[in-house]
């Protein structure tokens, strides 16, 4: 038995070496000169291969950038440092500074404030939980807190709080957008990092309906709209929303005195 193993292993190793040599020699003979800039651009890209750009990975994007088919701005993860480094390599200008986007979960109804109306003992996964009457929570537009988005995040930027609410850590978020597709309730949006104040509610229902199921929903009282400059806050049906093209200052939180406290700063969330 022992000699059989030695002989087999020896034969396979010898063959491996010979075949490897063959390939190595061919690789030398048929060497293809690649644009050296592709390698440099690849180094400047984040290298997470998250697919946020829509291409197969960072190497594909690097090729496309060097070929002039794409720009560094296509990469949602790339910081402005990285982008300017890439444009330096290519000898072009970035144009404007790339504003970093971050994902945000537009719901603040944790298990304390937005109670479940029925018991759910199924698989701990949001996509499974919504299959029966859109989940156990009273609010049909609320975060279920099973962490499907946190699992989808390749950068561990989403935390599920003890009270069962998904919260994005904006310093870790690179806006690859994976969580947006993961959330069956469509609560996650990409917003500019510079905007610090949000309405943490996504329910379009009327105020009495929302109040019954959640203590921290937007009841559409328009206090924030009145206290903000024109167009900084928008009403969409019964729901106030931050205008991300013309965002209000963070002080709006104190000035408006949102009665349900669903208008919050990102930091207090």
């Amino acid at each position: 038995m022992f000699e059989l193993v030695v002989l087999s292993v020896g034969l396979v190793v010898c063959m491996g070496i010979l075949l490897g040599l063959g390939i190595g020699i061919t690789a030398r003979v048929f060497e293809v000169k690649q644009d050296p800039r592709i390698e440099l651009v690849l180094d400047a890209l984040p290298g997470a291969n998250c697919g946020g750009c829509g291409l197969a990975g960072c190497a594909d994007l690097a090729k496309a950038i060097v070929a002039g088919k794409q720009t560094a701005a296509k990469c949602p993860v790339c910081t402005s440092d990285g982008a300017s480094k890439i444009s330096e390599i290519l000898g072009t200008k970035t144009g404007q500074n790339v504003v970093k986007n971050v994902a945000i979960v537009l719901c603040c109804g944790d298990n304390v404030n937005a109670k479940s109306v029925v018991g759910y003992n199924g698989i701990k996964d949001c996509k499974s939980a919504i299959l029966v009457s859109s989940g156990a929570k009273g609010c049909k537009y609320g975060c279920l807190g099973f962490g499907t988005c946190a699992e989808a995040c390749p950068f561990d930027a989403i935390e599920i709080t003890d009270d069962g609410l998904a919260v994005v850590h904006s310093e870790l978020c690179v806006s690859c957008g994976k969580c947006i597709n993961a959330c069956p309730k469509n609560l996650i949006k990409l917003v500019p990092e510079t905007v610090k104040v949000h309405v943490f509610c996504s329910s379009p229902e009327k105020a009495p309906v929302k109040m019954k199921v959640c203590k921290v929903s937007c009841i559409g009282c328009r206090k924030c709209v009145k206290n903000a400059e024109k167009n900084q806050m928008l009403m969409k049906g019964f729901l106030a929303q931050v205008n991300y093209d013309d965002p209000p200052p963070p002080e709006l939180v104190e000035a408006s005195g949102c009665p349900t406290k669903c208008l919050r700063r990102t930091d207090d969330h």
Binding site: F2, E3, L7, S8, M15, L19, I23, T26, E31
Partner: protein
């Protein structure tokens, strides 16, 4: 003598066509047959890999694996042969050959390289190649016989692939019912083509 070789050749190209009669190598047959150009390129690559794989694996099989060995190793004497290693050894040979073809194609014809895409490395797992070398080994064919067998088998593969690609190019222009579009009609065409090849079955004994 000539008649014998003719029988082998026609037998493997037409009568026992690898794709249409033995159903080996269906993956590239369906995958690279959308256009004629890549299909011809794929055929060339498969002919190269299959012929070389037949030669090398036949040499390895007859001179290393299928030899009654009696070697002393560390005081023990090994008696027997290493035929049980054939699958492992053959797949390694095929994989390295595919690597070599890939490197060469990348240099010699980049458009063909990108047109073949993932199907080029997938020749490694093309069961037609593996089937060919394993058939050679189990039938204990001589070096010349296995070389001819491998070459003709790959010719048969190419014939089927090119015929099918031409048919599919014509199909693109034809009015196909909505429910039959794409893969459905392609599979039906492949079936009819296979039935057509059954007509050759009387050619050889």
């Amino acid at each position: 003598m000539t008649g014998e070789w003719l029988t082998i050749t026609i037998g493997i190209i037409l009568v026992n066509n690898f794709v249409l009669a033995q159903f080996l190598g269906i993956c590239p047959f369906l995958g690279v047959s959308r256009k004629l150009g890549p299909a011809i390129g794929m055929s060339g690559a498969v002919i190269f890999v299959m012929t070389l794989a037949s030669i090398i694996s036949s040499l390895i099989y007859t001179h290393i694996l299928n030899v009654g060995l009696s070697i002393p190793i560390f005081g023990h004497i090994f008696k027997g042969n290493l035929v049980f290693l054939q699958t492992l050894v053959f797949i390694a040979v095929i994989a390295s050959l595919v690597q070599i073809v890939e490197l060469a194609l990348q240099k010699l014809s980049p458009p063909l390289y990108s047109a073949l895409g993932v199907f080029l490395p997938l020749i490694t797992t093309n069961c037609a190649v593996m089937g060919c070398v394993l058939l050679n080994a189990t039938k204990n064919r001589s070096l010349i016989h296995s070389t001819v067998f491998g070459f003709c088998a790959s010719l048969g593969f190419s014939l089927a692939l090119i015929l099918f690609a031409s048919l599919r190019e014509k199909l693109d222009l034809a009015k196909v019912p909505k429910s039959m579009e794409g893969t459905a009609i392609a599979l039906i065409t492949a079936g009819i083509l296979a039935m057509g090849f059954m007509g050759f079955s009387g050619l050889t004994k």
